[in-house]
Amino acid sequence: MLLPLCLWLGAQQNGPDAAPAPFRETGHAALPGLATTCGGAEKDYILEVNGGGLLLGDFDSDGDADLVVIDGSTLERARAGEAGEPPRLRLNRGDGTFEAAGEVWTMAPGRWGMGGAVGDVDGDGHPDVFVTEWGPDRLFLNESGSGFEEVTETAGLRGKRWGTSAAFLDYDKDGFLDLAVVNYLAFREEDVAHREEGECIWKGMPVMCGPEGLTPVHDQLYRGKGDGGFEDVSVAAGFRPREAGYGLGVVTLDYDADGDTDLYVTNDSTANHLWQNEGDGTFAEVGMRRGVDRDPNGKEQAGMGIAAGDLNGDGIDDLFVTNFSQEANALYVSRRRGYRDGGDVARLGGHSLRYLGWGTAMEDFDLDGDLDLAVFNGHVYPQADTPGTDTAYAQPDFLYRNDGAGRFAALPLTDVGPTVARACAAGDLDGDGRPDLVAIELGGAVRVLRNAMEAERHWLAVELRGAGANTFALGARVTAEWEGGARTAEIRTAGGFQSAVLPRAHFGLGGAAKVERLTVRWPSGEEQVLTDVAVDRVLVFEEESR
């Protein structure tokens, strides 16, 4: 009885004559029987509200995107000292549907999983998995595409804080992957008031406490030593702001185009951080100086998800950040000196005020040659459904479609009703060249959203194979030029909030039947150029040995 009613409600959203939704939910068919856990329904504590993580990677090296789902736990289990739900690998059958991986891919459960990162730590050409937890972080090596082995201890990764997001990068350009771990706050149930104690108030109602009033925890930077081990260089590398933030999201980017990899970290209710790589093994925090730390009036926001991409065509990635309800999502557009928030002018700010944004992705979803945005929403407070909040707990998700002039039109992402969404990751799951999406519903299903937009456009995806241990060439930049367009994309796996994406540069080409010039700037600084590149394929491009 319930299902037909839901379907009817869903159908009403667009109306009988409305255009079909740009994405089609295929979760139940694509990922049967996969549900996640994140505390109880009442959300009495902040530990229960962030949800799990989604890590895309070609773990079995068959050329398509597989998915690791990082799952959480419950307070009851945590109180009893029991492990949470384990991370689970689902292998892509090649058509965007997934099957459970065999026993060899089993990852032991941790305390309470959050997110993680994907990168080839041991340089064997197979992506490995780092998992962040409320509790000890963990590293799983991919044994040549045939299974995972946990190596946390031997790798020297001893983080035990509440990690949320993480990013692999090669900040010191030694060819070995390093790791940035973003941490949230110090949480012990006995130190935090229960929601019903009424200590924390939102719009006149008692709600779960935090993050304000709780202690933020510093992020960590680990340097890869090249022998499979890491050392914590957070302090030595200057990766330590004067005041810690409540870290939630991270991306890697070369914001100043100086050839090394910088980091951008979103913080909840505290200023965001832009870590400028000084090129000598150290970082400087320049978020305020570059105008990406808060809103244009100087107010700190609740930074959640991040999407990065070159929207204005200047060769520098712009940054899109999702925020709390009644805070506009920010679009930090690169300029001569740093960034300015252009969210309102781009029609991204005002529209987002009713929603609390989490996972987000910037891709050319409609393959028309410019970057679009997907945003997943859902409140942290179930009390948002109380009258008078101007928002709701379950919220619709949106595709913001770029009109080519830098303005975006909001469309409901799918024709399924509102959900309480969290992390997302974008990637071409079914090999048709159009970026699809996966997203987590808080304490619920993993949603698979198949891109259902017009297919008669061209595209090119580029994967790189580095000559050294940085086999996926994280930090490289790929510039594609085609008739009527050009864009630069960075190779990264960090997906913003508790997610990882494929190390691919993806270009929508509209009607262009070839890429006239493709320039790769490898992490080493060397450049290689291809001309007249055939399209509608994944080009795997190898670095010339030095």
């Binding site: 008031a193 104690e197 009424g198 006149g204 100087g298 309102d344 005020l353 009713r354």
Partner: protein
Amino acid sequence: MIAAVLALAASAASPQEPALAERPAILDRTPDSLPRCERDRWAELATPDGRERVLGSLAPEVIERMNRAENSYRAAEYVTALEDLYAALDAEPDMPPALLLLGTTYFRLRRYGDCRLSLERFLGVSSGELWRTQALGHSYYSLGEYERARDHYEAVLAAIPEGLSESAEAVRGLALAHMRMGDNARALELLARVLELRPDHAEARTWRARILYDEDELEEALAEARRARELDPFEPQPWYLVMRILYDLDREEEAREAEAQWKVLDRVAQEVRSLEMRLRFQPRQYGLCVRLSELYASIGDVHATREALAKVVLARPAEVSEFEARAYVLDTLVRLEDEEGARVAALALEETCANVADAWRKLELFYATRLDRVNQVRCGEMYRRLGGGDG
């Protein structure tokens, strides 16, 4: 004794504070639950004669409810105002003055959707009063509907009756709606108009500075931000802009000075916002009012401290004596070196606590430090007459 008052304030903001009182049921009502009136029920209000007739036909209980609602609104007791407004509107569906006040009350509570519902309904029965509904424009704006906000502000300004001047707030709202939609040139013109109407409008100057900064007109932006700062030195936003602009101009030392002051003000502003949000729903939270006054006093904002101290007096619970509250007010103003305010507080202490020996002792000392011998002696005598100092 001050320590006792402050301790109470501290405990009110700490984890030991007792649980929040039950959420008032009126907060769960929304304007769409109100009954509708018959067609043309309020049409006569548009004429002076009709107005008298219609208002004269209202039941005394309704008038009483409206009076109480207005008084509650003025005292920032918004939840109480809602109780009376809903009662009035249940009895007299769609009564325009009640709908207008309901919308404004919701705006103060930052329930923009309900403000919008109330005021759109108000316009449905009282379209000639469009000029009174700038809060509807503010609500559209706060909900992110900038085009609707722009159109509504324009309509409000066009509907202002002859003899009344333009509302600076409506012009400001119109300017900001244009700015959000990327028309910075028009926004600057309109903000200049706000300053013609209200030359001391610090916020208009701040917005001008921000737009000029976005346009990379750094020197002009800096001048405007500094003017805003002079008009409202306790508002962090102008300091923030000054800092950002100075950094962009590579004037590092000045920028760092501005940054230091901005950080102080911003930290205070963050806590003030949080406290004020709570006080909107529960205005009689004594501890929160004390904390608010402490915050304002910490940055030397005399005007805001005085207002917060007025709330302290109103919110005084039974377990805090009138003397303790009044003495706290006096001590705070003395600490702030607000001589004028302190003298008023001393007079209020004298009037309200004439039978309390300790009050006279406090006043004796207060006047002594001001070398006001006449009042010092007078208060000292009162202190001893009431038995102070015995034994």
